[in-house]
């Protein structure tokens, strides 16, 4: 499969209107896999794909620097080849739908994904070694120094993959491999938290938000957080102050969850990137579930519909509007 992938990407890179390709390459230590950017066909040989490729590459086209041009000059429209798993393709769908980028700026190579490992779990199990991991039908096959260890799927799989509803890319130009049977998301974790009392819920979140150091890693790694100026950093007016305390941390985390309502595609990158291990998915998934219940909409799953919060439907729920009778 890797060879097919190399050939495919090289074919596209050879085209004149393709600027570069984004993929994965072996990281510098442990099991880590890092994003890789190939401008030449030779660089494509570094590309790899395995169950270790957790990163959502859809974020990189959004982070790309736009250099200033002389007046009157227009930047040539060049394409980017992106390697996407199911969840990453949802991010691209959502970005394109919001007109953050256009579809013709991408060459999308989709990979149906059986799931990726949770790196924290993997490194806890095999500390201080480096190796490779692959996923097969009976679980993960971890290769360390040529020795293969088979670990049951449930022990290492990332939580987001366990409940993945879209393992197959939603949009793609080329598909690598066979489609995978999708799972079902029941939002049990959100329901569990909702079942707690109001005081307990606040106790839970107070403990979590208190740990936040506001490094903005969650924002930077998020493919949908691509605003040019972020209200988390704006100083005039300062919606969120810079001080790291429970009040500002709560404001920041709620602000982010709210801005991602109906947009978060659930790739779980914020939670993975968080150095303090905040359960950020729980916040975003709460919004995703409410949007699904209220508007029957799931972000990033249909390239043809409109973003849910940008258009009005007479049947939209209006329970939040207070009726004032005099």
């Amino acid at each position: 499969m890797i060879d097919t992938m190399h050939r495919m990407i090289k074919k596209y890179l050879a085209l004149e209107d393709v600027k570069y390709a984004i993929g994965y390459e072996k990281g510098s230590y442990g099991f880590r896999v890092s994003p890789s950017f190939a401008y030449t066909p030779e660089a494509v040989d570094r590309f790899t794909f395995s169950a270790l490729c957790v990163n959502n590459l859809a974020v990189y086209p959004m982070l790309e620097e736009k250099l200033p041009l002389p007046r009157g000059q227009i930047a040539p429209k060049l394409k980017t080849v992106v390697l996407v798993k199911g969840c990453d393709s949802k991010a691209l769908v959502q970005i394109i739908k919001e007109k953050g980028r256009t579809r013709d700026e991408f060459v999308i190579i989709g990979i149906p994904c059986k799931g990726v490992v949770d790196l924290a779990k993997l490194e806890a199990r095999f500390p201080e070694v480096s190796g490779d991991a692959a996923i097969t039908d009976d679980g993960f096959v971890i290769t360390i120094d040529g020795v293969e260890h088979t670990v049951p799927r449930a022990e290492l799989i990332a939580a987001k993959c366990e409940r993945c509803e879209h393992p197959n890319p939603v949009i793609y130009d080329e598909l690598l491999g066979e489609p995978v049977e999708p799972g079902e998301d029941t939002f049990d974790d959100v329901a569990d938290l909702e079942a707690m009392s109001m005081e307990d819920r606040w106790k839970y979140w107070e403990k979590e938000f208190d740990r936040c150091i506001r490094c903005f890693a969650c924002r930077n790694v998020c493919p949908l957080c691509y605003c040019k100026s972020c209200s988390g950093e704006e100083l005039n007016p300062a919606w969120v102050r810079r001080s790291v305390n429970i009040s500002e941390n709560t404001a920041w985390n709620l602000l982010r969850a709210y801005h991602l309502a109906g947009r978060c595609i659930g790739c779980g990158e914020c939670e993975r990137a968080c150095p303090m291990g905040l359960p950020l998915s729980l916040l975003n998934r709460k919004m995703a579930r409410d949007v699904r219940e209220m508007f029957d909409y799931t972000a990033g799953t249909n390239p043809d519909d409109k973003p849910v919060l940008t258009f009005y439907n007479p049947n939209d729920p209006e329970g939040f509007i207070k009726l004032v009778v005099i």
């Binding site: 938290l193 909702e194 109001m198 005081e199 307990d200 819920r201 606040w202 106790k203 839970y204 979140w205 107070e206 305390n245 429970i246 009040s247 709560t250 709620l254 969850a257 709210y258 309502a261 916040l283 709460k286 919004m287 409410d290 939040f320 509007i321 207070k322 009726l323 004032v324 005099i326």
Partner: protein, 54 residues
């Protein structure tokens, strides 16, 4: 927003929304009175106490 606040354990009544036209002065006054009464009953936010400035 209300759902999210309830989810993290903050009283959702602290955020309210209503439609009031510019010509509906009485309705606007009533709305503001209602909200202030409700918030007064809730009292200051216990979750995030105001920091004492030394």
């Amino acid at each position: 927003m209300k759902n999210l606040m309830e989810y993290v354990g903050i009283e959702p009544e602290r955020v309210q929304m209503a439609w009031v036209s510019a010509s509906e002065g009485a309705r606007w006054a009533k709305m503001i009175h209602d909200v202030t009464d409700e918030i007064r009953q809730l009292g200051p936010m216990k979750q995030i106490p105001r920091r004492e400035i030394p």
